[in-house]
């Protein structure tokens, strides 16, 4: 009997793009995009069951085995470091994790650097490697505002085009990591649905290349 693969997709534009890849790979489920109140969507013939979750929760669903696989941004994986397999770079949702600040900012290394971010673990790691003492300011949104209002010296955030930064007199000071959506899998579930997941991974890889 074919075992169903539970797939956690991130709500929003990235999830829709990811689903388009799954559909191209032969794992379509049209009702997924319909306006309805359903929470899970199945294509029994293809052996997949999808559900939408908050993007930052995908890794939790997968790590804890509620989903066998999922699509998560590399930013989330770097921040939360879930114990999962990272099976494929889906090459969608491409952006960069950067340090940004006022265009003319140069770190004087004379005091504690104030860093505003939604990604404290990534920021902490980045500056720990440089032995730079920082004052972490954890924000949940509008990060770019922090250096403009003097709340922080710099920010650590994802940058897609850099347009928002430029419009606010900010620029990229350092690139930390390239970001894109990744296919992740629960380690234990992979042991028992490995064949199905591997076939799906290979089909997705072809869809990504196409």
């Amino acid at each position: 009997m074919k075992r169903m693969i539970n797939v956690a997709l991130p709500k929003g534009r990235l999830g829709e793009k990811a689903y388009a890849l799954f559909a191209r790979a032969g794992y379509d489920c049209p009702e997924l995009l319909e306006e309805n109140r359903k929470l899970t969507f199945e294509n029994e013939a293809a052996g997949v069951r999808y559900f939408w979750v908050k993007p930052s929760d995908v890794a939790i669903y997968v790590e804890r085995g509620a989903a066998d696989i999922g699509v998560a941004g590399k930013d989330i994986l770097l921040e939360y470091a879930p114990d999962v397999y990272e099976l494929l770079d889906l090459s969608i949702g491409k952006c960069r994790m950067c340090v940004a600040g006022p265009r003319d900012f140069a770190d004087p290394h004379t005091g504690i650097l104030r860093v505003a971010t939604k990604f404290p673990a990534i920021a902490r790691r980045h500056y720990a490697v440089q032995s730079r003492e920082i004052d972490m300011i954890r924000l949940n949104g509008s990060i770019e505002l922090a250096p403009i209002l003097g709340l922080s010296d710099v920010i650590v955030d994802i940058v897609e085009t850099g347009k928002t930064l430029a419009e606010n007199g900010l620029s990229i000071l350092e690139e930390i990591d390239p970001i894109s959506a990744r296919l992740i899998a629960n380690k234990a579930n992979y042991k028992f649905k490995g064949e199905e997941i591997e076939i799906l991974r290979q089909s997705l890889e072809q869809a990504v290349r196409a």
């Binding site: 804890r64 879930p82 999962v84 990272e86 099976l87 494929l88 629960n186 234990a188 042991k191």
Partner: protein, 365 residues
């Protein structure tokens, strides 16, 4: 004893103890507390670096054990004799991505002294059979850190770079591995070997044959030969469900040789972890060899046993008019029949039960 008397956790704990004792592993008890210094010096050996500490009456910083192996190794005699020990202990640690300390019951065994092929194979067999006692649907992933370290040793890269590459192998992250190899200036041959090893995953015997045909350095081949001997032994024991998987990567500061991790269907993370850890003993100034594993029993709660149809088989109901001696007579009759029962007052809510013995003024049902 009725099967429902024990929880899944208790039943497995007893079965595993019986299994280990049957192979001559001597029960070993360690204290609940340990000097914090032991964990400070071996932080990376721990599953989680956070340790629950307190000051002892003499002012010394103590810790509630986050791990059992370190305590056993610390006290192990380094006299060349082989000790086979098993334990069931409670440890205190913060599980990965959890928000606080948890009390975790773990059982396991250690073989310290001379670890030859037989001893290693026996431990591996006991790991597989431990998983088999928990569920028929299990997988034991096996690797040898020597295979990957042999490949990496050919590159002029530092420890931090090796750790990064190994972590990517642990994630089965082929795309990340390709990028990292390019960034670190790792040769194409090594990059190819690493990705081939990530992809080589499957039933031990067949996968091993495939890996043996790859272009690998001599030190990796020696490790593969060791895995082949383990594979032959497991085959003789009649053990299946063992996979070769190089994504099992443990810290090479402590582990050398065989490493393994066990999974059972229905539990979303590894339930068994172990390996050969001569390097840990070396760090403690001992020259013995050692291998062992731990089974995390706390996770067994997730394996739901069939829910009993009744909370109690019989319910004995009484009220103020009932003579206590009458209750004693009724319950002793039930006990003689081997029926479990609960005695309660009439006005209390009624649990699910198979029969009701009413000792109130109304007629018995």
């Amino acid at each position: 004893m009725k099967p429902e008397t024990l929880t899944t956790q208790e039943r497995i704990m007893l079965e595993l103890r019986e299994l280990y004792l049957g192979y001559g592993y001597r029960p070993y008890k360690v204290g609940k507390f340990e000097e914090y210094d032991l964990y400070m010096r071996n932080k990376k050996f721990l599953a989680s670096e956070q340790v629950l500490t307190f000051s002892d009456t003499n002012g010394k910083l103590k810790a509630l054990k986050p791990d059992v192996t370190l305590s056993i190794v610390k006290n192990a005699k380094d006299d060349g004799r082989t000790q086979k020990l098993c334990y069931t202990e409670t440890v205190y640690r913060v599980p990965r991505n959890a928000y606080g300390f948890r009390e975790i019951m773990q059982t396991g065994l250690e073989c310290i002294g001379r670890v030859d092929d037989y001893a290693a194979g026996e431990v591996l067999m006991l790991a597989a059979r431990s998983l088999g006692r928990i569920s028929e649907r299990y997988v034991l992933d096996v690797s040898d850190v020597g295979v990957l370290s042999g490949v990496l040793a050919e590159e002029p890269i530092g420890d931090a770079e090796c750790v990064k590459l190994l972590s990517l192998v642990g994630e089965k992250n082929l795309h990340g591995l390709a990028v990292a190899c390019a960034e670190l200036g790792v040769s194409e041959r090594t990059a190819k070997r690493l990705s081939e090893l990530v992809l080589a995953c499957g039933p031990l015997k067949g996968t091993l044959s495939r890996v043996e045909s790859l272009d690998l350095p001599e030190t990796s081949r020696e490790a593969l030969a060791g895995l082949r001997r383990m594979s032959d032994m497991l085959l003789s024991y009649g053990i299946e469900n063992v996979n070769l998987d190089f994504s099992v990567v443990n810290d090479m500061d402590y582990y050398n040789g065989l490493v393994f991790r066990g999974f059972v269907e229905g539990i979303p993370s590894g339930i068994l972890a172990g390996g050969r850890y001569d390097n840990l003993l070396l760090r403690m100034g001992k020259h013995s060899e050692a291998i062992g594993f731990a089974v995390y029993l706390d996770q067994l709660e997730r394996l739901t046993a069939a829910k009993p149809a009744y909370e109690t088989e019989a319910l004995v109901i009484y009220d103020d008019a009932t003579n206590p001696l009458e209750i004693v007579r009724a319950t002793e009759t039930l006990r003689a029949r081997g029926v479990s029962f609960r005695v309660q007052r009439e006005e209390e809510p009624c649990p699910r039960c198979r029969e009701i013995v009413r000792l109130t003024k109304e007629i018995n049902v």
